[in-house]
Symmetry: C2
Subunit: 338 residues, 2 copies
DNA sequence: TTGAAGACTTGAAACGTTTCATTAGAGACA
DNA sequence: TGTCTCTAATGAAACGTTTCAAGTCTTCAA
């Protein structure tokens, strides 16, 4: 295997000069530089990153820890992160904590060992103990899709309270006065925030939340659970005329179940989802949903991280909050033309 | 920052002993080991991966280079890779070549610098030049979703010819004698193979491909293109009674377009897709499709790679080909009960 | 009482870079 | 000719591990 010493030997220079050609070419005479570059090309020499990092004390790697790689939400976020990182010459290590604290711990340890430049993470639990530990080692951390309580950390999130408000206000504006809210565990910050948004919009309109909202709480936010929610909603003494689902998968399951029962969407029941996953717009009845700027979320988070690691002196921690956007489609608005 | 030398000092042992506690604990006396472990816990010492890798000559990292992270196909593959890698104590670096040779090159160079253990890749182009270069450096490579020509490389793929056959035979068995084949560029190996499968099935049934198949070739395999294909199919002098789409997105677009024209699926036209993406089963008319064992594809590929790097002496290169599976759902079979 | 064997521990060398103080060489100028 | 400057090139030290030959103790048998 070719190392820098061999290149130096073949080019007839010292190994310091080869290093200079690689890192500070302006210090090397034109002729020498060319000779060295030629030997590098001929031998196919590629510098050893481990050695470089050992010397430098840090690596060009960035860790990205997400809750679920197969969720299109995180995929889009990851794209944003990757693009921002590449632009700065960094490489992303994508880690999937799979909602497991154990896996999260293992990955954090591994990233620590690699002496990564920084870590972008959507933590499994809200406690920030393990995060503080990593930060204490001098690794920059940016919270993803979660606002930071402390001001010692950057964070990038989307305003879910606002998202819940948007969805609910839209349905109220269509004249609905009895609205179902179908959602997963309230322990998830996103879900709890969206619920607060719902209640806020209801009160804003001068209505009584007790009468106006039917809460349906499920174990998880999957299509299967969404299908099951139809039963619960329809068996209510006063069934809703509109339903807001805390994510698109729930909405998809619910729509399927309602259609099977001959209930028209949106004529009989209007539906609003959340996330704007890829298929939302291509369903037979396109789904009204709340869009989150996923790509931008990732891009901004990576930018903050890179800024923090590369210019720590002029960096001050920020809590960035993006605004969601309501996309009105066929599932919530009755149109003469189909 | 704590290093192994400081731990040694605090525990009152030599640095060699600390290393032994870390890597070969059985060589260390119980009492000493405990003392060292306590110091490690107290100081929060985490060994420096770069130094370890420099010494060892390779890292625990595995590179995974895919064509498109946001494609659910690759996401599932990535999950398989990750699980296999984790089980062996390796970490995966996910790289997105985005169909660009340039980005692919950049990632390969970066992975080479990191001295990764091995690389799993779905190459952008079929030429294997850059791959040979990496292999020449002693980095193991396994081709993903692409069979290897040379026998010097492991590869894991799915039999797309067979997949095309399955889809076509199924439609023929339902009595269809005029079948549309909607697909993207034939330069993609997957597409070309599926087409060969179609023709094979047609000939097998003793039919004339010229009469039995309407080829519709599109620029890309997206929903939008799928919608456009309806026009082309229906304007044929003898429109098809069934259509096989080279992926599910095309099928989705086509279904949407047909439904809008009042054409019943599967009564008027039967549809078969390819990939079994997540939403295929939850559409209002569930989509018949060809399933590929995505997770298993990734898992097997990672296993082969790890085997090659960890037991090179007893490793022989393999070309693994998985069989696809036809999932018959509502879009291709007329059922009395809906 | 001595020697051998076994159990632990030690510390130097090596991994492949980058950095930096030092040196060599070439002009310029008095 | 001698001195001063400036540019280029040099090579030793350092980064934090792992490995391994060598060393020290202890124990036990003869």
């Amino acid at each position: 295997m070719t190392d820098i010493r061999r290149v130096a030997g073949l080019a007839g220079v010292s190994l310091g000069t080869v290093s200079n050609v690689l890192n500070r070419p302006h210090l090397v005479a034109e002729q020498t530089r060319r000779r060295v570059e030629q030997v590098i090309a001929e031998t196919g020499f590629v510098p050893n990153g481990s050695a470089r990092q050992l010397r430098a004390g840090h690596s060009p790697l960035i860790g990205l820890v997400v809750l679920d790689v197969s969720n299109p939400f995180f995929t889009e976020v990851a794209r944003g992160v990757e693009d921002a990182a590449n632009a700065a010459g960094s490489i992303v290590i994508l880690c999937n904590s799979d909602d497991s604290t154990l896996k999260e711990q293992r990955y954090l340890q591994a990233l620590e060992e690699q002496r990564v430049q920084g870590i972008l993470i959507t933590p499994v639990s809200s406690g920030e103990a393990s995060i503080q530990r990593v930060r204490h080692r001098g690794i920059a951390v940016v919270l993803l899709d979660r606002p930071s309580r402390s001001h010692e950390l950057c964070s990038v999130a989307v305003d879910d309270v606002r998202g819940g408000e948007f969805a609910t206000s839209h349905l109220l504006a269509q004249g609905h006065r009895r609205i179902g809210f179908v959602h997963g565990p309230l322990t998830l910050r996103q879900v709890a925030d969206r619920q607060r948004g719902v209640l806020h919009a209801i009160k804003q309109a001068g209505l009584d939340p007790q009468r106006a909202v039917i809460n349906v709480s499920l174990h998880s936010q999957t299509t299967v659970e969404g299908e099951a929610s139809a039963e619960l909603l329809l068996s209510d003494a006063q069934p809703p005329t509109a339903v807001f689902c805390a994510n698109d998968l729930l909405a998809l399951g619910l729509m399927r179940s309602l259609t099977r029962r001959g209930i028209g969407i949106p004529e009989d029941i209007a539906i609003v989802g959340y996330d704007d996953v890829e298929f939302a717009s291509v369903l037979l009845t396109p789904l009204t949903t709340v869009r989150q700027p996923k790509y931008e979320l990732g891009y901004k988070a990576a930018q903050l991280l890179l800024e923090e690691t590369q210019h720590p002196e002029q960096h001050s921690h920020q809590q960035v909050v993006f605004q969601p956007e309501l996309l009105v489609r066929g599932s919530s608005v009755f149109q003469r033309h189909s």
